[in-house]
């Protein structure tokens, strides 16, 4: 035990004097969490969607077309810009990126809407600029369709003799209040926010980044003959590896606490939403322990495999970025297509993120995260055992 304490003390002293390494481990995830939580703030939850600008060209010029545009003006997430010109002018302004969408109301729209016998076609064409958000386009299309449907309904009712219908009555007829949305309890009954995704994602990512200091320190020890010296002093492989494990486990725990504090206190001060930590400290502790074990064991495996610090930073850094991209760290899993979502199972970072999200979003307890924690601990055991085998096979000399 005395030996282990000596190894831990040495590692902590060396790390505390490596400002670059500490910057990677603590500053990088903090910055990522802040940027991603604030940048993606509008991509999560209702009522937080960004506004999209559109231009309108009313070539019909009837009361119905005016009513359609007036109805659209009530839509929360779309803003009509001033425009007076023809269709080529509208296309030009779209091409310049001045607006996301252009609505062209075709001549005859008013007549077609009013005619209950007609089967309306091609009444409104929505033009989208090349970089326009596809989801926003689909939502605008649905909004236009709903507004047209409302106008048609009003026309039909007028035809049936029910003129001057109240707008509220029309809404009731269209059953607008029939559907409601609500997030289930688990995250305090509120909608998930970007910070709920960003904190666990970048925490897992940063915990795996111990691969850089662990592998570079290990390589320095190998190339400088320190490993050989330690072996001649009778230090067995398991103690050497535990000597690395202890301090970096501690660092992972500090990372977890720090990132939690950033999410709870710092992000809201900068205009984002506050992180809610879920309801189970045991589940959070279990996940942090499991992710840390997996990250350190993987780092030790990389450390014994590579021969130069260039290889360590390249292989360690790139594999982490690959794990992150595949595991839903950089791009949330729910926006991925189905086959990519299945591929995330290949990344241990995804296991960690899934476990944390269970706690943060669904109020999961320690029992509920056992599959993710178990997978991570299994990965840690396999990577750690392989690292010991490779170390014994390769020896201690450079």
């Amino acid at each position: 035990m005395h030996r282990l304490f000596a190894l831990w003390r040495k590692e902590i002293l060396a790390l505390s004097r490596d400002w670059h390494g500490l910057l990677v481990l603590f500053a990088m995830p903090t910055v990522f969490i802040l940027i991603m939580s604030l940048a993606l703030k509008n991509a999560f939850g209702p009522g937080q969607a960004p506004r999209f600008d559109y231009l309108a060209l009313d070539r019909d010029g009837t009361g119905e077309s005016a009513a359609l545009l007036a109805g659209l003006a009530e839509a929360e997430n779309y803003r009509r810009l001033d425009f007076a010109g023809d269709e080529p002018a509208l296309r030009t302004r779209l091409a310049r990126g001045e607006a996301s969408f252009g609505l062209v109301l075709a001549p005859g729209l008013g007549r077609a809407v009013a005619d209950s016998e007609a089967e309306p076609r091609g009444l409104v064409e929505i033009l989208a600029e090349p970089g326009a958000n596809a989801q926003a386009l689909a939502l605008l299309r649905a909004e236009v369709q709903a507004r047209l449907g409302r106008l048609r309904l009003k026309a039909l009712l007028t035809e049936a003799g029910q003129e001057d219908l109240e707008p509220a009555r029309l809404d009731a007829l269209m059953a607008r209040a029939a559907v409601s949305t609500r997030y289930l309890p688990g995250a305090g009954g509120a909608a998930p926010t970007s910070v709920q995704q960003s904190v666990p994602a970048w925490l897992v990512f940063s915990m795996f980044f111990v691969v850089i200091p662990i592998s570079t320190l290990f390589l320095t020890e190998r190339t400088q003959g320190t490993l050989a010296r330690l072996k001649t002093m009778g230090l067995p492989a398991w103690q050497l590896f535990l000597g690395k494990f202890g301090p970096f486990f501690l660092i992972n725990q500090v990372q977890a606490v720090l990132m939690g504090l950033v999410g709870v206190y710092l992000v809201p001060r900068l205009g984002g939403d506050a992180l809610r930590l879920g309801e189970s400290w045991a589940a959070l502790g279990l996940m942090t322990l499991a992710v840390s074990c997996a990250a350190i064991a993987y780092a030790l495996l990389i450390a014994v495999l590579v021969k130069t610090t260039e290889q360590a930073t390249t292989l360690g850094g790139l594999s982490n970025i690959l794990f992150g991209a595949l595991g839903g760290i950089m791009v949330p899993k729910f926006v991925m297509p189905e086959f990519m979502q299945e591929l995330t199972a290949l990344s241990p970072m995804a296991w960690g993120l899934d476990g944390y999200l269970k706690v943060f979003l669904r109020g999961g307890d320690a029992f509920s995260v056992l599959p993710q924690a178990g997978a991570l601990l299994g990965f840690a055991l396999a990577a750690g055992a392989l690292a010991v085998l490779v170390y014994r096979f390769k020896g201690v000399e450079a």
């Binding site: 005395h2 030996r3 304490f5 000596a6 190894l7 003390r9 040495k10 002293l13 060396a14 004097r17 490596d18 190339t223 400088q224 003959g225 320190t226 050989a228 010296r229 330690l230 072996k231 001649t232 002093m233 009778g234 230090l235 020896g395 201690v396 000399e397």
Partner: protein, 268 residues
């Protein structure tokens, strides 16, 4: 005493052996020199003696039967540059299990041995080459070893540090320690070692006491005569029908012996 008998070692995938039936006798309480060009097998032999690798054949026999406390001082600066001298010494003392009661005294002795008292708080990475060599050496002494393996301990140091290190090493046998010393500097080995071995391509070319090796020749006879009498001596020899094969002034030195045995060719 250490007896090495028919020791062999081959690196995986290598075409030839790094050590080919090497037999040596290292006397206890002495400094034994191990000379050889690059690739001769010195580091391989030291690696086996330090326990870093197992020999492919042959045996080692330590006097008294049991393996003594062996310390390796490698060529590289095998310590932590971000730690101070004292932190390095404390760490390596603790790893070797130096008892707490002895720890402070051992640290003091090691620092005094290597002349590090004035720089004990400074980070080792900021040291000059000479100080780094001295710290490297001091770490080797922390566990009070019986047998020290010193692999080129004076490479890259200034003359003052080199002289300090050599004097410190020369004093080790008086404390009962046996030293195996490798170096490319012949004058160092000549100064420190009573006996030595010359190794090349994994084989022992010569070994024994330094004076005996220097006295050994190639079948020719050396005569020491006053320089002023050279012409008279040549005439007398010619008159007796004795050819003069070569002329040297001064004694054969270790470098001459080394170059003669290892045939002067470049090794890397």
């Amino acid at each position: 005493m250490l007896s090495i008998h028919e020791l062999s070692y081959r690196y995986p995938g290598a075409s030839g052996p790094a050590l080919d039936r090497v037999s040596l006798t290292v006397p206890a309480g002495r400094i034994f020199g191990l000379l050889g060009p690059n690739g001769a097998g010195k580091t391989s032999l030291i690696g086996i003696l330090a326990g870093l690798r197992s020999p492919g054949g042959g045996s080692l026999a330590w006097s008294g039967g049991a393996r003594p406390r062996v310390a390796l001082v490698p060529q590289e600066y095998a310590f932590y540059p971000s730690l101070s001298c004292r932190e390095n010494l404390e760490f390596f003392a603790d790893v070797q299990g130096v008892p707490q009661a002895l720890r402070a005294r051992r640290l003091e002795l090691a620092m005094a041995f290597a002349g590090l008292e004035k720089v004990w708080a400074q980070r080792a990475g900021q040291y000059s080459g000479g100080l780094k060599r001295r710290l490297n050496l001091a770490i080797g002494l922390l566990a009070d070893p019986d047998f020290l393996l010193l692999d080129e301990p004076t490479v890259g140091v200034d003359p003052q540090s080199r002289s300090f290190i050599l004097e410190a090493i020369k004093a080790l046998p008086a404390e009962g320690k046996t030293v195996l010393y490798t170096s490319h500097y012949m004058e160092e080995v000549q100064y420190l070692c009573e006996s030595l071995a010359i190794l090349d391509q994994g084989r022992v070319l010569a070994q024994g006491r330094l004076d005996a090796l220097l006295a050994s020749g190639d079948g020719s006879l050396g005569l020491r005569i006053p320089g002023a009498k050279e012409q008279a001596a040549r005439a007398a020899l010619a008159g007796a029908g004795v050819p003069v094969l070569a002329r040297e002034s001064g004694a054969q030195d270790l470098e001459a012996l080394f170059m003669r045995l290892t045939h002067r060719s470049l090794r890397d």
